[in-house]
């Protein structure tokens, strides 16, 4: 008997090509600057808490609320508030030039145990497959986040568009 099944679909996986087509995907130039939000949402679900919560008003959904969020990346300062409010858990903040060799990806985390700063974990892609080693730099918790922690993980730069999950 098998221990685990296998995938036969691409469901749940947005291709990089598709993500790059989304409104407000940071251009190459914007990625070079300070941390910026990446919203990987591409279905017309009536939903807009990201627009509501952004303190810089960088995210726009408008009416009807089935519109996909669009981002003014110049206004976005990578504060990470939108990461934990998103019901789809599909918002990330990416700091491409965290240092000379590494990028930093902020992602939502709702499992136990929570990782701890300094831990070395596996950086995984959108399929949950480990692609590189990653180091936990920050774990942001707090009552306002309603138990969706935000984990900042440092990864080799070439994976800044790939790593969106961790495993340990």
């Amino acid at each position: 008997m098998l221990d685990k099944l296998f995938n036969t679909s691409n469901d749940g996986i947005l291709s990089i090509k598709r993500i790059k087509q989304l409104l407000g995907y940071p251009g190459t130039e914007r990625f070079e600057k300070n941390p910026v939000v990446v919203i990987e949402c591409d279905q017309d679900i009536p939903c807009n808490p990201c627009e509501d919560i952004c303190p810089e008003r960088a995210i726009a959904v408008g009416t009807p609320i089935t519109n996909l969020p669009s981002v003014d990346t110049n206004k976005c300062n990578g504060c990470t508030m939108c990461i934990s409010i998103c019901p789809g858990l599909c918002i990330f903040v990416v700091h491409k030039n965290y240092n000379s060799t590494e990028s930093l990806v902020y992602l939502p985390y709702e499992m136990l145990p929570l990782p701890e700063k300094g831990m070395i974990v596996e950086g995984c892609d959108r399929k949950g497959e480990p692609v590189c080693k990653a180091r936990i730099e920050r774990v942001i918790k707090g009552k306002k986040l309603q138990k969706t922690a935000v984990v900042a993980v440092a990864i080799p730069k070439e994976y800044f568009e790939i790593v969106r999950a961790i495993r340990f």
Binding site: E110, M111, L112, K147
Partner: protein
């Protein structure tokens, strides 16, 4: 500690990333087919049984097939057992009580003695 290690053999969730699991529920004991089973006040018989690894509540009358929890909300009646002498009690919506006697059912259960 990983959740599985914290759980041990019992299937009780001791910590959860979203829910606040209460640490001070009152322990009670129910007697299931003669054996003492730990339970907590405020839970159903079915959840206490499941937590102790007991999944089979009864066997059917004709084909003697095992049955247990299915809908868990009092609609399907698959989870019935004899409780404090009364047969065919839905265990998924009956709360435990300290000293409650729970017995597996074979077939339909007997009612006669209740009217003696």
């Amino acid at each position: 500690m990983k959740q599985k290690e914290a759980r041990g053999i019992e299937m009780r969730i001791l910590e959860h990333p979203i829910l606040d699991i209460s640490k001070d529920r009152k322990k009670v004991t129910i007697i299931v087919d003669g054996k003492n089973v730990d339970a907590f006040e405020g839970e159903t018989i079915a959840s206490a049984l499941y937590a102790s690894g007991i999944k089979v509540h009864r066997t059917t009358a004709k084909f003697k097939e095992p049955r247990g929890v299915f809908c868990n909300k009092g609609r399907c009646t698959d989870c019935i057992m004899k409780v404090d002498g009364c047969p065919n009690v839905r265990t998924c919506n009956t709360m435990v009580r300290d000293g409650m006697i729970v017995e597996s059912l074979e077939g339909r259960g007997e009612w006669e003695h209740l009217y003696e």
